[in-house]
Symmetry: C2
Subunit: 455 residues, 2 copies
């Protein structure tokens, strides 16, 4: 855990004042109206995570028949990120990376034998790991995790042991038996009624926001859907043109709408940073019950783009410019450093992070500091990205049961020209392959083997 | 040609007054400000057609690295249509259908031997066909066609013989030699400099709009791009993350921005209906120089969705509600009847139309009157759509050189659940196949063979 000294905290507060005044307009306006400026507070933070939602499953990312007016509005009022990646193509490692800012291969939260944690697993996120929630606690944030944790269901691994004041949700995937609902560390519904789960998560979230309206607060809201089995409430079942999958996504969309509306109603929208994304790509083998990666190749489980590139929307009225699309390279692991920056917390020393501060990208003031990405499947580095280029050293379908196929030279794609990964240009770009190999070697040298928590 | 009597015109004007007052707010506001209400005019109409642009090639339709801020803004201020179809998967028949509201199989503007008109073709759109421009001339619209006509390059087939006061553009595709630029019926540049073509079309369009600011006017602006060979002006070349294809689309996007900005500046945006779409899907065999159909299957030339479903945006501030997405079924042939309705012109009697009035869809007041769609390749009916269902009787790739494959029973897809046409559900829905067959038989009975103009 990261515990700054009081003196350090104070100094950072003072820096924070200047930083927040420099990048926001609301603070200045509010001060002018009240005539007595309050010291600026660090922003509230809400991360909303969908489960197995595909890159192409939202209206604002091109789906023709799933109606997502609330997420579309969130995008109109904020920023759509079109090259935003999860750190893994399946649940557990992706979520571990989100909360720690570290690749799963560093935290032991991945495995080549079992892709994710199961109800019979004994492992989980280690106590030594620093989560976003723990970091924000040093700035007195109220913190809540509502939804699917999937980083260990034994008590010592639960959100309440990782910086969250409270937890309400299912500790693993909704297809794992028995699906049991926890409040904090106690089972309160077994088996859980999944038809009302999204609605109940939303109600819990709204209660938390209202109770902590004076802020600052951090809400981590990882929904269980649209992971199969799919369930929608009676209000949404049969409503969508896209069938049950669409009903489920439209219920999530409505949940986002209720949250943003509550922020507006409480007049805290201008000091709340909200980020929406998904943990990994669509589960294509589920056919009509799985989503769509849009123009991207493959889906969940694979390191083709469809497995790891996610729809992402950032929203913070007055700070994040409205109606922008950013094609800057960004990773889910970057939320860790970005939130540290927004809350003016120094990054922990003595920890190898894979996290870069994207606050300049979100305010539209600078290009992304991120120039590379590493695509892991389990502990295997399958592919790497450098600028627009992606090299596949190994390819394998998500859930096809095929063995990994090695490529030497690697397959090479220009992802910005060819997002669907159709045109291998390896032969004409040996210099890119050489530079990529150097990047990969440097990256691999930073990896220290750790025991897997998933086996 | 359709020539209403003066008396009939007068009666329709009077009806138009009520209709326009009922559905628009600008008329009432303008009247209140001026204190002397002018009789409402029918709206100006602008149709902007891209050439070979794919369903997935705009930011607001999900492309990650083509920046289309102007079309995205047009969508935010207007309506995105996500189930809008061209009437053919290639240029000539698609454009013939747009201007006449009739399937190409009725006008002879299609063929099983040659898909489109070539510089050595002798045929073209017949004088007896009624175009949107001719209809609007009965209401004293100023009319201009600027861009790619492709409905016959011999003088008797040019836009100037089909209701357009003026023409400026290339009469066929930009890959057909010699690519020559016409003004009205005279060659003015041979060969044409294609690098400045989009810019020059735009300049011509802006001049026409300014000259006819008092309205009503009809501008048909079918661009030559992003059809290959691709050319961008020096301002746009190298600008896009997507390479030359992206540069070309971004230049088209800027052109749309200049047009909408001019309408705002002239304060005629609130009585101008603008519609943007593409003639057919992306030319996939051109690889990096062709576009993307997004999540749709196949592209140009084929009757899979990628060949005929188009990105479409309708814009008319104050009349078309802002920021809406409509998944109502709509066809390019419907522009004919819709524009007749907007300009209060009766549809021509004694002509078999394939055109339905979508004005209720565009104002958000009603569901689409269209419940079916017929997918032709040449004169062959390959597939049909009934509600959400699509049956493929014959399938064939766009440019793969393969022979058509017959299907009995047809392949059946639920396009609203499965827009990517992955899950054939024919076996479980014999009743849909029976109903579809009845629909197809009824449709086929309306087709009267006519000589092809393309052979």
């Amino acid at each position: 855990m990261f515990h700054p000294t009081p003196a350090l905290t104070l100094r950072r507060c003072s820096l924070a004042s200047r930083a927040v005044l420099a990048i926001t307009t609301w603070t200045i306006q509010a001060a002018a109206e009240d005539k007595k400026p309050e010291p600026p507070k660090p922003p509230n933070v809400i991360i909303i995570l969908a489960d197995d939602l595909g890159y192409g499953d939202l209206g604002c990312f091109g789906h023709p028949t799933i109606a997502t007016p609330n997420l579309d509005r969130m995008a109109r009022e904020g920023m759509r990120l079109t090259q935003f990646y999860s750190a893994a193509p399946v649940c557990t490692p992706s979520r571990a990376a989100l909360v720690t800012g570290r690749l799963p291969v560093r935290t032991g939260m991945t495995s080549d034998k079992r892709g994710v944690l199961f109800p019979d697993s004994k492992g989980g996120l280690q106590a030594g790991e620093i989560t976003i929630a723990e970091a924000l606690k040093t700035k007195n944030y109220a913190t809540a995790c509502i939804g699917k944790w999937h980083l260990g269901h034994l008590p010592q691994y639960l959100p309440t042991r990782h910086g969250f004041d409270s937890y309400y949700g299912i500790p693993y995937s909704n297809d794992m038996k028995p699906a049991v609902l926890l409040r904090n560390e106690r089972a309160i519904e077994d088996p859980v009624d999944q038809t009302t789960l999204t609605d109940r998560y939303t109600a819990e979230a709204l209660t938390f926001i209202r109770q902590n309206r004076k802020g600052p607060f951090f809400l981590y809201l990882p929904h269980n859907f649209p992971h199969v089995p799919l369930f929608a409430s009676s209000e949404f079942k049969g409503k969508s043109r896209r069938g049950l999958y669409g009903d489920v996504v439209e219920e999530l969309d409505a949940s986002v709408g209720r949250i943003l509306e509550t922020l507006r109603e409480l007049k805290i929208d201008d000091h709340t940073f909200v980020f929406f994304t998904s943990d990994n790509g669509p589960w294509l083998v589920k056919r009509g019950e799985g989503g769509s990666a849009g123009l991207l190749r493959e889906g969940k489980g694979s390191t083709w783009e469809g497995g790891m590139r996610e729809p992402a929307i950032a929203w913070w009225p007055g700070t994040i410019p409205a109606g922008r699309t950013s094609a800057e390279l960004a990773s889910m692991t970057d939320l860790f450093a970005t939130i540290h920056k927004l809350a003016d917390i120094e990054l922990p020393p003595d920890v190898t992070l894979d996290s870069l501060d994207l606050s300049g990208v979100l305010t539209g003031k600078s290009a992304s500091p991120r120039q590379s990405m590493f695509y892991y499947r389990g502990t295997r580095l399958m592919a790497a990205r450098m600028g627009a280029w992606k090299a596949h050293y190994l390819t394998q379908s998500g859930y096809g049961g095929d063995a990994p196929v090695p490529h030497d030279p690697p397959l090479l794609y220009d992802l910005e020209h060819d997002p669907s990964e159709k045109i291998d240009v390896a032969k004409s770009h040996p210099e890119v392959i050489a530079a990529m190999q150097k990047l990969v070697d440097e990256h691999k040298a930073t990896i220290v083997p750790v025991p897997s928590q998933l086996e």
